[in-house]
Symmetry: D2
Subunit: 336 residues, 4 copies
């Protein structure tokens, strides 16, 4: 921690801050300039700079070491490649995961699995629990739905990624999914993160709509700290004052995560924009900016999708998009 004392801070005030820092477990270095005295604290594990910032005579206090360690790029400078069965995420190929918002019927999921596999997707997505903001909406098929998606995935050589809403669902979901998806609303559900950290199964963690990139990495730390290193992060839009799009997809988070962390980063242009006709431009932008994977909502008849219809693309749009992505990937040294 770095503490900058106010101009005119008294020697007593400076000494009190030093004592406090020592009490918090820091080695303290003192450096006095013309206007300000600066104290550098080194070595403490976990602390809140604001606690020092409220002390008398203190102008500001900054954290130096990132509070995340296992998630930081310096932990694995070469970057992580997450292997899920025969698919590498974070490697040379950009991995597309596509499918409906909700698992609806065995027929629906089979049609979609077959169409996304044919177009080049490597995983099928589909929700069995639907955390709707209105209590009066369709809430998902649960385990029955997971069976449907597993079978469709197996028939089409796809991985299954599906959202876990609550830690009590984990054991039930284990046999069906290849990747546990954690939604934006659960990014700071620490009980859930802790349980996922105990697994040896890949997790995709979405950024919350009001979360900074640093907070996303700190949530990642929870899972890594449990020993589960098979972790993929995902940008899906943050909330801003712009109302035309549901959220503002923060494409710059992709290169920022790449710099700060070794973990692969995916992008979800469907939730990131909330509008069907914006999915393709933002998917292209994400790959051009260096995304390792994409999560896209696809339905064979989007207007009839039971949920998220407005942001779901149809078969033709999806195939066209895959074609464009194949042209863009080589510009960043990747293939699809």
């Amino acid at each position: 921690m770095l503490v900058v004392m106010e101009e005119g801070a008294s020697e007593t005030q400076i000494q009190e801050v030093i004592d406090r820092l020592v009490g918090m477990g820091f080695d303290v270095h003192r450096s006095s300039g013309v206007r300000h005295t600066v104290l550098g604290g080194v070595g403490a594990k976990d602390f809140d700079p604001a606690e020092v910032e409220v002390m008398a005579g203190v102008k500001e206090a900054h954290r130096i070491s990132s509070p995340y360690k296992l998630a930081s790029r310096s932990f694995r400078p070469q970057g992580s490649v997450i292997r899920v069965r025969d698919v590498d995420i974070g490697g040379d190929r950009v991995v597309v995961m596509a499918g409906p918002c909700s698992i609806e019927t065995p027929e629906q999921i089979e049609i979609i699995a077959s169409l996304v596999a044919e177009a080049g997707a490597r995983a099928i997505r589909g929700g069995a629990f639907k955390p709707r903001s209105s209590p009066y909406s369709f809430q998902g098929h649960g385990e029955e739905g997971l069976k449907m998606i597993r079978e469709a995935a197996d028939r089409n050589g796809l991985l299954v990624i599906s959202e876990v809403m609550d830690h009590i669902q984990i054991p039930m979901m284990m046999p069906y999914v290849d990747i546990f998806q954690v939604g934006a609303r659960n990014m700071q559900n620490f009980n859930l993160l802790r349980e996922l950290g105990k697994l040896r199964k890949p997790v995709l963690l979405k950024r919350g709509i009001a979360a900074t990139i640093e907070e996303l990495l700190l949530s990642a730390e929870y899972i890594l700290a449990g020993g589960n290193y098979d972790l993929i992060l995902c940008e899906r839009g943050i909330r801003t004052f712009e109302t035309y799009t549901r959220n503002t997809m923060d494409i710059s988070a992709i290169p920022v995560v790449k710099k700060l962390s070794h973990l692969p980063i995916a992008a979800d242009p469907s939730h990131g924009t909330g509008r069907r006709d914006k999915v393709a431009p933002m998917a292209r932008a994400a790959v051009a900016a260096g995304a390792d994977a994409l999560l896209i909502e696809v339905h064979h008849d989007p207007d009839k999708a039971w949920s998220d219809a407005a942001q779901t693309v149809g078969p033709e749009q999806f195939r066209e998009l895959m074609k464009q992505l194949r042209m863009i990937a080589p510009a960043v040294g990747r293939s699809l």
Copy 2:
């Protein structure tokens, strides 16, 4: 729902939208102006306007009825007063709930209970589970802590309010707390909300840091829909680009909630600002704007608090604040 067609939308496009609306359960009224045709849909229960907005020829689609019903002011125009034992929340008196961030020791909680009761608080707050963003921090005393706070509260004639983090904690917490507090991160934890809706015990629901007021009311609807009407809402700061304060406390949410809903609204200036010296001004502002209750972090020795030290006020500051609030309340027809 109101649907505005684009200028030059064809008759076929208009007809397709009408068919879709009818299919969604709406009665449709058509109104044609010089430039735009407008369709008014009445009667459907739950829907996403974006589904219509992506149809050909549609310029925009708006929801008319609020998606919340039980939470809306029109449900109880006179406003709700929540009675918790002998304390009324939403009535003539502004209710102050105060106490430490974490329950630390029996001595600590007793000292604080006694000091806040003497100063005029009606409830003691204190956390037994600490959802820290870093996995390496103190995580709370659990049931042991709840016992401590219950005893201290009983000795000092106070209610107990404490945060529930997960629905599996509810049965254990039931005997100890008078009000279940739902934190900002759990505002859209629908499993938790649903379980709280089944109780007949008061709940205080905090606004998420990226939640609109409408979303707060929709989360309230989850609890009300279960039959639990003893609900208090709470403003505690939203995330904006301003970084000097941890969050920007949206004081205007207080009169807005008062207009849109019958539910009482509390304010939490400790989390709302993150800084000890800003707690008093914002507490005063909240009461002046019409808040029904306040939630304030108080510790007998704030610098030594185990958590949230930077935003916790000491005994002297708390007493001084209570004195100021007693002067302000009459300006809005209240007492303390």
Copy 3:
């Protein structure tokens, strides 16, 4: 400036940063910890920390001294009181400035001047140039309007505050106004600020809707640096994701400015909320939080106001509000 080197930064990288800092005019202090080397730079005048942050081996760079000096509290620890004719702003009395959005007719401005003076306002506000976001709206009466407001003010013993939109309007406005108001959109119009800095007439500077408090103080510095110390700052709402109110009025900016700067701080609840029925609660909140002055849109017949009708209060509401403010002010050691 404080520069934190990355773990494992080479000695060459550290030396290059030191050379750069010296080249920028800093005295450099070096401090090496277990994981990080920290460099403290003292003494340079103006610089961009990002320039160092992009150098090889640098983890982060922070500015220590605030880039504003004349605006900072340490420049005048006791605070500034701005005397405008016989009115003190920043002293014991909270000053209310009220009036219509636009100056419409001599009759209108006389009626309003008389009613706000009677209710206790000390200044009349009214715009002669209307910077409308649509090019097709009423654009103001210009000098003719200023004559009207000056005469009405003089007849009623009020100061005149009116907005200056462009530096070329200053000489024309000089004889009519007592306080030049700078609107939110012009907070960073540095040509305008520079010209106002040359005057010896008070200025009220509004915070931009996307400006941090630090940026507001830096804009204040422009005016102060020119030698004009009669400056009042004003909070009027920032843009956030919340859409129910036009802007989110940042009440916490009031105590924050009080701490960081010696300048008086006003609040404008009319623009801060955009809704008539929210003006009174937010005006009360502002005074309770310590505001030195209020700027309120009042019209004798608000529904017929030529501009800003939705956020303008009528005579009855204004008188009622003044009564409430008189009750609140003593709680913060003020009168009205």
Copy 4:
């Protein structure tokens, strides 16, 4: 305008709203549903929905027609191509405009002009007036600088784009620039926009950091309304709670502007990110999302640039980026 009355609004209230709408110049259509009465107003030119929204019995009021007309896509469904000398903006080729933040010396601008021309840029950018947020910084060379950039541009077959800060600078700048650039801080400087509307010279208008896309289009309307149709819009980042990047570049604004307007849209990844190493990923993303032009800060020795050094790329990075953009453009049917 669409007005939704509250449930239980009285017939008198409804009639008062109808009268008001008629008074504002609307033809009114009334439609009564089970719970709400809806009034559709057609035909008025300019109005503020909030004026009706504050009337008794009104639940909400929405604008139907966009307040911009000349800027809307329906005005020129095929899209606009802006011809500047021999360069088309908005056509098949993506146009790159590159150069230093400030014009420093004749040698500097010549070196940079030659290097960006060689790499494939079609215009050189460079500022002659520097609107620095600190009053103590370098403020630009003025006309002298414009002469330097004009000569360098002519020698290298480039267009000149440079920022105009104030309408009084226009006549002086006319002989030197091919495109007037309006910076983010001036997006709502209506005096400046009005003067630029009278010219017959191209303008590039940047989005303000707190401006919605609709507000950008409304500012565009000011220029178009004056008869100047040679207008290019530009996304350069909006302010959000994320602090790692200076702004959050809203890549989705590119396809949104394309849908709502016929005007070409450029992207400025230098200001959009504020960090040199993020310029290339965001430039690639912008082209992949459909941008018509890019504005990039390039310097032959970025570390020594007099301003914006942190976000300026060097020759090698720029050439590498141009190569990548040439690979991406074909995926969206463009070339470079």
